[in-house]
């Protein structure tokens, strides 16, 4: 229901956007801004079947980055929420590193970890993990104390309290954060794929750009946008499945 609504919203937005694009393209009438119809009709011919390979490579990098960020971020966030000692040690570090634009570290990461996939995944993790840590820690700390009272009076173990109260209480926040992270991860990916790789949708777009193949370039932009939308829908489905209790 909710997902259907979102898809409807997407289609409406898609149509309006394309109409505006079309009007703008006709008005400007330059080769750098082709009409959307040119892209769609050419989508099948572009690079034969190779586009999907770029998409898969990008998807692999983004997913790996997200998964590692989530595992690290949730674990560290929980440790900081539960342990005063660790919060005291890690909080200054998180606070200090949070505003550093970590994309600037890409050269450092590439020097340390090579030009391959690992440096691209690591830069994604570096950027996402801090916001996940902060979100998880704050979500746990913000659970009102009295939420725990009935289950404590039942003599629940720490694990039972965690699985029955803490985890479900922070899940909505975690998913909101995941949604933000997907958007961020895709932007970083585009940037990171400009260096040291021949695959990935980011590379595809930049390569088409340098070859002045504007049709391919726009096709690439279109595909990376669809990739983002696909990941959003996945998170919506996830949210609908595990946060049914929320309005």
């Amino acid at each position: 229901m909710k997902v259907n609504k979102k898809i409807k919203l997407f289609i409406e937005g898609f149509i309006i956007f394309n109409i505006l694009w079309y009007i703008l393209a006709v008005a400007i009438n330059m080769r750098v801004l082709p009409k959307p119809t040119d892209i769609y009709f050419n989508l099948a011919n572009i690079y034969g079947g190779k586009l999907y390979l770029h998409v898969l490579v990008s998807l692999y990098r983004v997913s790996l980055g997200l998964i590692i960020s989530l595992i690290l971020g949730v674990t560290i966030g929980l440790i900081m929420a539960y342990s005063n000692f660790w919060n005291k040690i890690l909080n200054p570090l998180v606070y200090f590193t949070y505003p550093i634009p970590k994309t600037a570290l890409l050269p450092v990461v590439m020097l340390l970890f090579g030009l391959g996939d690992s440096s691209k995944v690591i830069i994604i993790v570096l950027i996402l993990v801090f916001q996940i840590i902060v979100a998880v820690r704050d979500a746990v700390i913000n659970i009102p104390e009295e939420t725990y009272n009935p289950i404590k009076s039942l003599g629940a173990s720490r694990l039972q309290i965690f699985t029955n109260v803490t985890l479900p209480a922070i899940l909505p926040e975690l998913l909101t954060n995941l949604r933000l992270s997907v958007g961020t991860a895709l932007s970083i990916l585009f940037f990171a794929e400009g260096y040291g790789t021949q695959y990935g949708i980011g590379y595809y777009i930049l390569d088409a750009w340098t070859r002045i193949d504007y049709i391919s370039m726009y096709a690439g932009i279109l595909v990376i946008s669809l990739l983002g939308f696909f990941l959003f829908i996945l998170i919506d489905l996830l949210e609908e499945a595990i946060c049914k209790w929320k309005a």
């Binding site: 404590k152 003599g155 049914k244």
Partner: protein, 268 residues
């Protein structure tokens, strides 16, 4: 009737025994500047009793309940349930807080069965019968798949009562359980509670700020003093569970008596 006749007397009637023994219980807060929040309180609660606790705000009523429920562990004095030091893991303690304490991410069914799940108790045929009886009595069988946000205040209240009775608690604690309900729903809920209580005779302590509620639902009424709350008086309430309570002359006398204590600043 003289007010003095209302005072508590040790009952030795058949079938009852001391369920909860509270000996010089006191609770204090703060590590640097210690503030005494409650007590010392000593009282013996027999099985099958309902105690209403009434007192000025900030006198430690909620602290008292939180200590009895094992949520507050730092206290002086002793609390024994069935001659054993209180331990939520060992004892079955039902707790209904003011906001009913339902977990918003669990539907009604899972909320009702939470106590059994935490206590790792299997649902055998006897338990099944008990659950079905309580659910039908409280008329929430049709709400099983709903989430708390989809329930009215009265419905939430009934789910909370169901959850508490399903686990068959040694001790049931309620923190102003009816105060969040509107007047009509409250009366209905109180009647319903008494009905179920009469079935199981669960030993109960509840906190209230309503004199009327205390008289209607409390077999015994504890009046607490200003902070730190100590017992001013324990009234053996002859009007417990009386129909048409408000029309009775004794009701007026008793509530006037309680009111006079309140006016004197919760002292005798």
């Amino acid at each position: 009737m003289k007010i003095d006749n209302l005072h508590v007397q040790e009952r030795n009637a058949g079938g009852t025994f001391i369920m909860v023994e509270i000996d010089k219980l006191s609770v204090s807060y703060g590590s640097k500047k210690v503030v005494n929040a409650l007590g010392p309180i000593s009282i013996n609660i027999s099985s099958g009793d309902i105690y209403a606790v009434i007192g000025p705000s900030g006198c430690g009523k909620s602290t008292f309940l939180n200590t009895l429920s094992g949520i507050i562990k730092n206290h002086d004095g002793k609390i024994l349930i069935n001659n054993e030091a209180i331990n939520p893991k060992k004892h079955n303690i039902g707790f209904i807080p003011q906001n009913f304490g339902l977990l918003p991410w669990k539907n009604v069914e899972k909320n009702c069965l939470l106590s059994l799940k935490i206590k790792r108790r299997a649902i055998d045929s006897e338990m099944k019968e008990r659950i079905d009886y309580i659910l039908s009595k409280l008329n929430i069988g049709s709400l099983m798949n709903r989430y708390p946000r989809e329930l009215s205040g009265g419905q939430k209240q009934r789910v909370a009562i169901a959850r508490a009775f399903i686990m068959n608690p040694d001790l049931l604690l309620m923190d102003e359980p009816f105060s969040a309900l509107d007047a009509l729903t409250r009366e209905e809920a109180q009647e319903l509670f008494i009905e179920i209580w009469n079935q199981y005779k669960t030993t109960t302590v509840f906190v209230t700020h309503s004199i009327e509620e205390a008289i209607y639902m409390g077999k015994k009424i504890i009046i607490l003093s200003h902070c730190p709350g100590t017992i001013v008086e324990i009234i053996d309430n002859p009007l417990f569970n009386t129909e048409n309570l408000r029309e009775k002359e004794e009701f007026l006398k008793l509530s006037a008596h309680i009111r006079s204590i309140i006016k004197k600043g919760w002292k005798i």
